[in-house]
């Protein structure tokens, strides 16, 4: 497997995430898109570490990213639940105002 194929997969993942974020109206769906983008960047770290560096910094950093993604998902879901309590909807177009 060459470097290009790794990066291609990463790029596809990234674009998928981006499209999910831009196209979906469901906030939870958008959060999933964010997860895809994070995973794409984590894959990039691992790839570049494997091909250019012999240490394990990139691997450790990808573990960080997974951790941060989990925390971010928790916070994001909490926000979504709160948002649902206020708006009784998780449609992104109802989030046009900063105050209720």
């Amino acid at each position: 497997m060459s470097l290009i194929s790794y990066i291609s997969i990463s790029l596809i993942l990234f674009i998928c995430g981006l499209v999910v974020i831009l196209a979906r109206k469901n906030i939870i769906g958008m959060l999933l898109g964010v997860e895809l983008i994070l995973n794409a960047s984590a894959l990039n770290f691992v790839t570049f570490t494997k091909y250019f560096n012999s240490n394990i910094d990139g691997h450790i950093f990808s573990l960080f990213i997974i951790l941060v993604a989990a925390a971010e998902a928790a916070v994001g879901l909490a926000i979504v639940i709160r948002f649902f309590q206020v708006r009784e909807s998780i449609h992104i177009d109802s989030a046009t105002q900063l105050q209720s």
């Binding site: 981006l18 974020i21 831009l22 992104i92 177009d93 989030a95 046009t96 105002q97």
Partner: protein
């Protein structure tokens, strides 16, 4: 003894406190507020008695004084001095005044609890009495003309309110306005005098004015309508006009008879004993200024005319209070005459003795009026033709009134004789040295003949003879000793004896009852301010307690610093005056006896024979007619109408309406400008520009998160593409 602020100021502040509290609680707690008023004035009486005792019996020196000052406000700056000091000044004169005012006021408060008890505005009366008393005491304690003026005006207001106290009675409202407006004429002059002194002396404290006179600071002339007038004359005249207004002197005496519309105790306090005396007190304080201004002959004439004129009017009055009102004016005339002839001490002595016996007379008249209740009209009776024979019904009132009448009539051994005779004696001395003073002296002596006549006429008509209105007499209550109805009268009548004021029979120290001159305390302690003594005087700060032990006693000099020969001449004239006044007094009483008790002389014959005079006297010499029909309706009203025409026809039409037209034109110009430039270009223009930017901003700031995200990505990508690719 030390004098701190805490032992002087309560004299003023206690009645003022009573006033302030009473004005809020009087409607619901009338009894409480009356008790508060009476106890407050009794408290000030105690404080005043302490000062009096110390000044008169402790120090016994005419030079003793307390002068405390503080700066009320000071806005000097930029080379201009504008500093207003206030302060307390107590000398022997003020100490005597304080005791007199508080004592008389307390007894009148006590009497009012009896007299006003059934009135529906019982409590409100005491609110005014307290305010009045505190103002009078403040005036006595003042060390400068400005605070004198302030308290003077407060008293004027109280007088106004009390004259109009029975406002449902017809004429009371007009009488109160008349009193207020007439005294106002004098007050305006007084204020002008204060201003004149302030601009030249730079201060209006008594001590500073004395200093300025002593150092010759008031000799300069100022121009009035092109005529040079010495400042001293102008100021003295203006201040004397204040006295004329307040003390009801000719020609401003018209308000005092009408002031009898007020309740009788207030007449006793305000229009007989204290407030009208305040004018004389002020003139005495400013005596050196009057002397310097050369005003004394005018003052003597004003006093003489007032004393004689009011006495003649009193001859024909039938209302018991009107007789007393005119006798008050007449006696005030004697005080002013005393000032005019340089009899400083006798004038002040007459002020004090008059305050005591006139307060008593008014209270006695109140007692008479209170006891006579007409059951048909439900009013109290004041007309003497309906009285008579009340001696048996009102024995204590009769006793008190008799003593006071003897005092005012100038019968020896009574206080009025001592003081009035000294004034007349001094008038005689002045008349012997200058022809100018003959007329006032003669007028004083004729008045002294009329005074016992009309006073005893009043006594005889009221208390002697047969009751002329049987029904009224039958319903009159029989009098019993009661602490608040006749005890105040009896206390006051005790002080009509001459021995309280002078140890000698006729006040001049010649016919001595007591040999030692200590009994001449009044003459020793009150003397003309000796100006040179004031030059070095300083005052202390108000916060510092003052303690001066001044032991050296003044000794009474019966010659008053004159040579033996002069003194002999003066004594001779005083003797002559004393004998003349005794003869005059008794002949006046005898004439009244012949007319009204023995019926040997028919008063009706006199009124018929001199019907023109009687008519003039009944109309008070047409002064009211002259002022109202002549001065006001003929002179002031046309002038007023002219001014009103000028105001409406000329000023209003040309100036105001013309200015309105100019403004209308300006308005149309500015409206065009406003509509076109301001409104269209600036206001709407800014709106349009805002709307234009608004369109741009609104499309960006649409609140849709995904749109923001696209923008973010576009920006990020374009940013990345502007770099060279790494790989």
């Amino acid at each position: 003894m030390t004098y701190s602020i805490a032992s002087i100021l309560p004299i003023v502040l206690l009645p003022f406190f009573a006033f302030a509290v009473n004005s809020f609680i009087v409607k619901r707690f009338t009894t409480l507020s009356v008790i508060l008023s009476c106890s407050a004035i009794f408290g000030s009486f105690l404080f005043a008695a302490r000062i009096f005792g110390d000044f008169v019996f402790g120090k016994y020196n005419s030079d003793y004084y307390i002068h405390k000052t503080f700066t009320w406000f000071d806005i000097s700056g930029g080379g201009l001095t504008f500093k207003v000091p206030m302060g307390i000044y107590i000398d022997n004169m003020a100490a005597i005044m304080l005791l007199m005012v508080t004592g008389v006021a307390f007894l009148i408060h006590l009497f009012s609890t009896f007299y006003m008890h059934d009135d529906k505005r019982y409590g409100r009366f005491f609110v005014y009495l307290s305010l009045f008393t505190s103002a009078m005491l403040g005036l006595v304690l003042s060390d400068n003309l400005l605070s004198v003026f302030i308290f003077w005006e407060i008293m004027g207001f109280c007088s106004y309110s009390l004259i109009g106290f029975y406002y449902e009675k017809e004429g009371a409202g007009n009488a109160s306005i008349k009193a207020f407006m007439t005294t106002r004429v004098g007050d305006v002059f007084f204020l002008l005098g204060i201003v004149a002194l302030w601009t030249t002396v730079g201060s209006v404290t008594f001590v500073d004015i004395y200093k300025a006179i002593a150092t010759g600071g008031l000799k300069d002339s100022i121009l009035i309508f092109g005529i040079g007038v010495p400042v001293a004359t102008l100021a003295a005249f203006s201040i004397f006009m204040g006295t004329v207004g307040k003390s009801a002197q000719f020609p401003l005496q018209v308000w005092l008879p009408d002031a009898m519309f007020g309740p009788t105790p207030c007449s006793a306090l305000i229009h007989a004993a204290t407030m009208v005396a305040a004018g004389v007190y002020l003139s005495l304080r400013m005596f050196p200024l009057m002397e310097l201004g050369g005003l004394l002959p005018i003052i003597a004439y004003v006093g003489g005319i007032t004393a004689l004129g009011a006495a003649t009017i009193a001859l024909v009055q039938t209302d018991i209070k009107a007789v007393l009102a005119f006798s008050t004016i007449s006696q005030l005339g004697y005080m002013v005459l005393g000032i005019g002839v340089g009899a400083y001490n006798p004038a002040f002595m007459h002020l004090i003795t008059h305050a005591v016996f006139k307060a008593c007379l008014f209270l006695a008249a109140g007692s008479v009026i209170h006891s006579l209740h007409d059951h048909h009209t439900h009013t109290h009776v004041q007309e003497m033709p309906r009285m008579g024979g009340l001696r048996k019904k009102l024995p204590y009132t009769f006793l008190a009134m008799l003593f006071c009448t003897l005092a005012i009539a100038g019968v020896p051994l009574f206080s009025g004789f001592v003081s009035k005779d000294r004034i007349l004696g001094d008038a005689l001395v002045m008349a012997s040295s200058s022809k100018l003073y003959w007329a006032p002296a003669v007028m004083g002596f004729i008045g002294a003949f009329l005074t016992p006549f009309y006073m005893f006429r009043m006594i005889f008509l009221t208390f002697f003879g047969e009751p002329r209105d049987k029904d009224l007499y039958e319903h009159a209550h029989h009098e019993h000793i009661q602490f608040n109805s006749n005890v105040p009268l009896l206390i006051l009548s005790v002080f009509t004896f001459g021995v309280w004021f002078s140890g000698s029979l006729e006040g001049q120290g010649i016919v001595k009852v007591f040999p030692e001159s200590k009994y001449e305390w009044f003459q020793v302690l009150v003397e003309k301010p000796e100006l040179n003594k004031f030059i070095g005087r300083t005052s202390t700060a108000i916060s510092e307690p003052e303690s001066k032990e001044f032991i050296e006693h003044s000794h009474y000099d019966p010659n008053h610093g004159m040579s033996e020969e002069e003194a002999h001449h003066v004594h001779h004239l005083h003797h002559l005056g004393a004998i003349a006044s005794i003869i005059i007094a008794f002949s006046g009483i005898f004439l009244a006896y012949l007319m009204y008790v023995a019926f040997k002389v028919n008063p009706g014959w006199w009124t018929n024979a001199f019907s023109g005079w009687t008519k003039a006297l009944k109309n008070k010499y047409y002064f009211d007619n002259f002022y109202i029909d002549g001065l006001i309706k003929k002179l002031m009203l046309p002038f007023n109408n002219f001014l009103s025409w000028f105001d409406m026809g000329v000023y209003d039409r040309i100036a105001i309406d013309g200015w309105a037209k100019v403004n209308q034109w300006l308005y149309s110009v500015s409206r065009w400008f406003d509509n076109l430039i301001i409104d269209s270009v600036l206001v709407d223009g800014s709106g349009v520009s805002v709307r234009f930017f608004n369109i741009i901003m609104r499309t960006i700031q649409n609140g849709r998160i995904q749109f923001y995200f696209i923008v973010l990505i576009v920006v990020l990508v374009s940013y990345l593409l502007s770099f060279k690719p790494v790989i």
